[in-house]
């Protein structure tokens, strides 16, 4: 996800955050992608399956599936009022007229416990100028260049609002869907948020409050068709 006017076809992508489409019109992320330090950010545009390496290495279009500007953004009230970590959750609502409305989406699962020791995965978009290390970047400068990057690992600890794991992530990966593989399906349980303590990172889980936000947005802005 980036701001309103950069790319589709610019270089660099100016990526701000990652996100996960979970229904026709809803893209979940975290609250600080949309509202931070007391003000709304300009992160409003969805560039699904962005490819910053293709852009920077080959001059190819970094938005192979196009892009779209969101119609609405939702955050938790307690995130707006206090920016409390436990309420760091938000979402974008696409226009009902968007061509990306019927682009595929992930399954998701409301949850508030029971993830410890479960394997979870996350694949998101580190920012252009973040250092991905030599093995993970074709660039001489080792920059990530907004190309998808991720891994899997078990959940180590959890609370009712967040769950925590040892996965090395970079700025730009906030909002990445954290999912489990259930049968043949990827099922999202939370949105990657940031560091936790000295060594772990964590996700805002899709607990009751965050599920309410999703369902309120879906109720306010239903998507038909597909």
């Amino acid at each position: 996800m980036n701001n309103d006017v950069d790319p589709p076809n610019g270089t660099p992508i100016d990526l701000d955050c990652s996100g996960t489409k979970i229904s026709r019109r809803i893209v979940i992320a975290v609250g600080h992608c949309f509202f931070k330090s007391g003000a709304w950010t300009d992160t409003r545009r969805l560039v699904p399956a962005a490819d910053g390496i293709a852009d920077s290495e080959l001059g190819a279009d970094p938005s192979p599936h196009g892009s779209t500007t969101s119609q609405w953004r939702y955050i938790r009230g307690d995130w707006m009022d206090h920016e409390w970590t436990n309420y760091d959750f938000g979402l974008m609502v696409l226009y009902n007229d968007s061509a990306l409305k019927c682009w595929w989406w992930h399954a998701w699962q409301e949850n508030s416990s029971g993830l410890t020791q479960d394997d979870v995965l996350l694949y998101g978009y580190p920012g252009e100028f973040q250092d991905c290390g030599g093995a993970n970047s074709p660039h001489d400068d080792d920059f990530c260049f907004a190309s998808i990057y991720g891994m899997g690992d078990p959940v180590i600890t959890e609370g009712a609002y967040r769950f925590h794991y040892y996965m090395d992530t970079q700025p730009g990966m906030s909002g990445t869907g954290v999912y489990k593989i259930e049968g043949s399906e990827r099922v999202v349980y939370g949105s990657h948020r940031g560091d936790y303590g000295c060594c772990m990172t964590d996700a805002s889980r899709l607990n009751g409050g965050n599920t309410d936000l999703i369902q309120d947005a879906q109720s306010d802005h239903p998507g038909d068709g597909c």
């Binding site: 950069d6 790319p7 949309f34 709304w40 707006m80 968007s98 580190p126 100028f129 609002y161 309410d212």
Partner: protein
């Protein structure tokens, strides 16, 4: 796939204390210095040179519709309009600022060195909808080479006749100078209720090369 809400609420109430304050992941200032207008910054640009970059522009101006076809303002979208954009130095000191990303949330803050010069940006459209002057910093971000200006406004404070369709909406103006000269005026609606805050942002009009609300591949 959704558990009953009452079950979930019970678990939250029993298991978790209130959240702690986030250590915001953002660009924090690590150094800053005041410059005279003719003094070059450590990155090589003086405030006077930045003002030269933002030279006056006359450009075609297009009033925009949302992706759903709705007009966010009372502007006539069929009319051919031009806009005159000028910047002049406003009072206040110019600053060279270096920021680094800190904190524990993982939004990419696009931090780095930047030059800030207080300016007054005048924006006048040929249809009379906008006859305004806005004051804020013109900011040159060295990582991108783009100089930009951002300001919020209340529609009732405008000299022109532009008004939003949505009651209680505010406005934003953005201008960019550099290889690409472009900018826009936007309508912003913010609602708070039921433990949620909602924001609707719609571009009302623009000049220069601005991406449309949707760009199919």
């Amino acid at each position: 796939m959704i558990f009953p809400r009452t079950f979930t609420a019970l678990l939250i109430g029993a298991a978790s204390p209130l959240g702690c304050k986030s250590e915001s992941g953002e660009c924090q200032v690590v150094s800053s210095m005041t410059l005279t207008d003719d003094e070059k910054s450590p990155s090589g640009t003086s405030p006077a040179e930045l003002l030269q970059l933002s030279k006056p522009e006359n450009a075609a101006f297009l009033w925009d519709l949302g992706l759903d076809g709705s007009n966010p303002t009372n502007a006539g979208i069929e009319e051919e309009v031009s806009v005159a954009v000028t910047t002049e130095r406003a009072s206040g000191s110019a600053q060279y600022v270096v920021t680094e990303q800190v904190g524990n949330t993982e939004q990419d803050g696009n931090c780095g060195p930047s030059l800030h010069v207080p300016v007054r940006l005048s924006l006048t459209t040929s249809d009379g909808a906008l006859e305004e002057a806005f004051e804020a910093d013109l900011i040159l971000r060295y990582a991108t080479g783009v100089a930009s200006f951002d300001s919020s406004f209340a529609f009732e404070d405008l000299n022109g006749w532009l008004t939003p369709v949505a009651a209680g909406a505010d406005g934003e103006v953005h201008a960019e100078f550099g290889e690409e000269v472009r900018g826009w005026v936007a309508v912003v609606v913010t609602l708070t209720s039921d433990g949620a805050a909602r924001e609707n942002w719609t571009m009302a009009g623009h000049w220069g090369d601005v991406a449309p609300p949707e760009d199919a591949p």
